[in-house]
Amino acid sequence: MKSKNIISILLIVVTFTIYFSSCEKIAFEKEIENTPLENYNYLWNEVNEKYAFLEYKNINWDSIYEVYYPHISSDMTNDSLFRVLGNMLNELRDGHVNLFSSFNLSRYDITLLGPVNINTRIIKENYLGTDYYTTGSFVHNFIKNGDIGYIRYSSFANSLITDYELDYLLERYKNTQGLILDIRQNGGGYVDNVPKLISLFCNDERLLYETQIKNGPDTDNFTLLESVNSNKTDKNIYDKKIIVLTDRGSYSASSFFSVCTYAFDDVILVGDTTGGGLGLPNGGQLPNGWTYRFSITRTIAVNGQNYENGVPPDYTIILSDDAATTGVDNVIEFAVNLIKL
C-alpha cells in the first residue's frame, strides 16, 4: 500500500519537475547566436544549399565566402553588416534576391543591364492618344487607322486579370489585323496572371514550360520536371497575329509570359531580351531577424532551354536614340510591319 502511494505521488512530482524545468528546452536545439559572423555564415549557407542557379550562372560561391569574410567583425555596425550581406547577395546577379531590414532593402537592379526600350511619352502622344481605354490593368486603343490594337500592360502586380477584361479586349479588337501587347518595363507580379493572359489567344491544353524545385544541398539536386500547361476552355480567343514587346525591364512574370509565347507560332517577341527572373523566390530569416529571399526553382522553356538570364526576342529591336525627337517608336513600327506582312 505504502509503495503504491509512493509510486503515485512520484508520478505527480516528476510531472511538476518537468513543468518547472521547462523540459522542452532540453529537447530543442539552442537558438543560433546573433553575431555578425553567425548571420554571415547562416546566409551564405542558405544560398549555398538552396539557391537554384549557382551552377547555371557559374558562380563559385566558396570563393565569394572568402571575398566577404574579411569584412565581418564582431564590433561592426548593423549598417555595415547589411552592406556586406547585401553585396554578397548581389554577386548572384538576380533581381529576385533581396535582403530586408527595418532600415534598408538590398537589390540587384536588373533593368540597368540594358536600355529602357520604351518612351511612355511617345506612346501616349503618338499611339494611345488621349482617348485611350483603361480596362483593369490594360491601357489600350486602336492604332494605324484601326487596323491594329495596341495594349499596354505595365504590371502583372496591379490586380488579377478577369475574364470580363479579356472578353472586352477580344470584342473590341476582333476586327483588327493583329494585336501589339506591350510589356516593356513590366517588372512582373502575380504569376497567376500569366496563364490568364495566355488565355487571350489560347483555349487548348498545351505545354507552356516545365519547372523544377531545388530539393537538396547539392547544386544539381532538383525535383523532376513538372509540366505547366494552358487550360482547355470553350472560350473565344484572338486568333490573329500577336506581337509581344519586351525589354530588360520585363522581369519575372513578364519573362514567364515571354517564355510561354515560344509555345505559339502566331505570337512573336520583339524588342530586347527580358530581364529573366524565371526562378520563383522563397523567403527566410536570419538570426538577427532580417529577412531575405532568393530563387529556389528553375524554368525550362518548351525548346528545352533555361532562360534565367533573360528570354531573347525573335527580333531584337532597340528603341532608336532619336525616338524622342522624331516621336516614332521604331519597336512598335517594326511590330506593325510584322503584322501587315
Partner: protein
C-alpha cells in the same frame, strides 16, 4: 532507438494486458458519459527552420471539446482542440508576426488498472492516435509566407485520477467571521502522452510555400517523414464535482513536439495552456 521502442512497447502491452485480466473482478456494469467544454489561453514557442532559426512566441486562444465514455473498466475519449492566434518575434530593431491556426483531434482508449485502487488513485494506461493540422502565415517570408503542417501520431498514454473530499467544517474568515464550509468533492487528474511514432507532412528542402504556378503546385515539394518519440503532452487538472455530477474544471496543458535534428526543416514547438472547463454528465 529501435530497441528502446520495442522495450517500452513490451512493458506497456504487458501492463495493459494485466489490467484486462481483471475484467472478472468487476462487480457490476457502470457507465458514465461526460462532455467537457473548455476555453483558455495558451502560450508557447515555435521554431520552423524552414523559414527561420528564431523561436517565435505564441499567444493562442484555445477551445477544447472532449467526450469521455467510462464503461466498466474502459475509457474512450474523443478530443478536439483548436488554437487560433499569433506568433510574435521581437528583434533588436523590428517585430515579426505570424498568424497560426491549428486543430488537433485525438481518439484515445484507456483501461482501468485496478491494482492501485486501494491507494485512492485510479490508473488508466492507454493509447491514442491523433492528428495535428496547422496553417501559419508570416508575410515577411514572401513566397514562403504560407506553411502547412500535418502531423499524425500514435501515442502511449497514462491517465491517473484521485478523488478527494474536503469535509464539512466550521471555519473563520480572517480569524473573525465564522462560516460553515459544506463538504466539497474534488477530482484531480493527470494525463501524460508520448507520441511513439509520428508521420510528419511538411514543406520540403527549400520550403517553396505558396510559389504556386498552377493548381498542381498547391503544396509544392512537401514531404512525409517519420519520427520516433517526437515529444510529450500532459494535462494536469482539478475538478470540483457538483452535487448533480457535473464538474467545473481547471486544466494546465503542456506539450512539446520536435521533428528532430535530422529532419528537413526542423520544427520545434511547445504549448502551455490554461483552460477553464464545464464538464457535463450526459447520463
Amino acid at each position: 532507438m529501435k530497441n528502446k521502442t520495442i522495450f517500452v512497447l513490451i512493458l506497456y502491452v504487458g501492463f495493459s494486458l494485466n489490467s484486462i485480466g481483471q475484467i472478472d473482478t468487476v462487480p457490476k456494469e457502470t457507465r458514465t458519459k461526460l462532455i467537457d467544454i473548455s476555453a483558455g489561453l495558451a502560450t508557447g514557442n515555435l521554431r520552423d527552420m524552414g523559414t527561420s532559426p528564431l523561436f517565435y512566441t505564441g499567444l493562442l486562444p484555445v477551445v477544447d471539446i472532449t467526450y469521455s465514455d467510462f464503461y466498466n473498466n474502459n475509457l474512450i475519449q474523443f478530443n478536439i482542440i483548436s488554437y487560433n492566434g499569433i506568433y510574435i518575434k521581437l528583434t533588436d530593431d523590428d517585430s515579426y508576426t505570424s498568424t497560426a491556426n491549428s486543430v488537433n483531434t485525438e481518439i484515445a482508449y484507456y483501461r482501468h488498472y485496478q491494482d492501485y485502487d486501494d491507494t485512492g488513485f485510479k490508473h488508466y494506461p492507454g493509447a491514442s492516435i491523433n492528428n495535428y493540422t496547422s496553417i501559419r502565415v508570416n508575410s515577411a517570408f514572401n513566397n514562403a509566407a504560407f506553411t502547412f503542417d500535418n502531423i499524425s501520431s500514435l501515442n502511449l498514454n497514462y491517465f491517473i485520477t484521485k478523488e478527494f473530499t474536503l469535509k464539512a467544517k466550521q471555519k473563520k474568515f480572517l480569524w473573525l467571521i465564522k462560516y460553515y464550509r459544506e463538504e466539497k468533492q474534488y477530482l484531480a487528474s493527470f494525463k501524460i502522452g508520448v507520441p511513439i511514432y509520428s508521420l510528419i507532412y511538411r514543406p520540403g528542402f527549400t520550403n517553396p510555400g505558396n510559389s504556386t504556378l498552377n493548381n498542381s503546385f498547391l503544396l509544392p515539394d512537401y514531404k512525409i517523414t517519420g519520427k520516433v518519440f517526437s515529444g510529450m503532452n500532459t494535462n494536469l487538472s482539478l475538478s470540483k464535482i457538483l452535487p448533480n455530477g457535473n464538474m467545473i474544471k481547471l486544466t494546465y496543458h503542456w506539450e512539446y513536439f520536435t521533428s528532430g535534428r535530422y529532419s528537413l526543416n526542423r520544427l520545434d514547438m511547445s504549448k502551455h495552456a490554461l483552460l477553464f472547463s464545464l464538464v457535463f454528465k450526459m447520463n
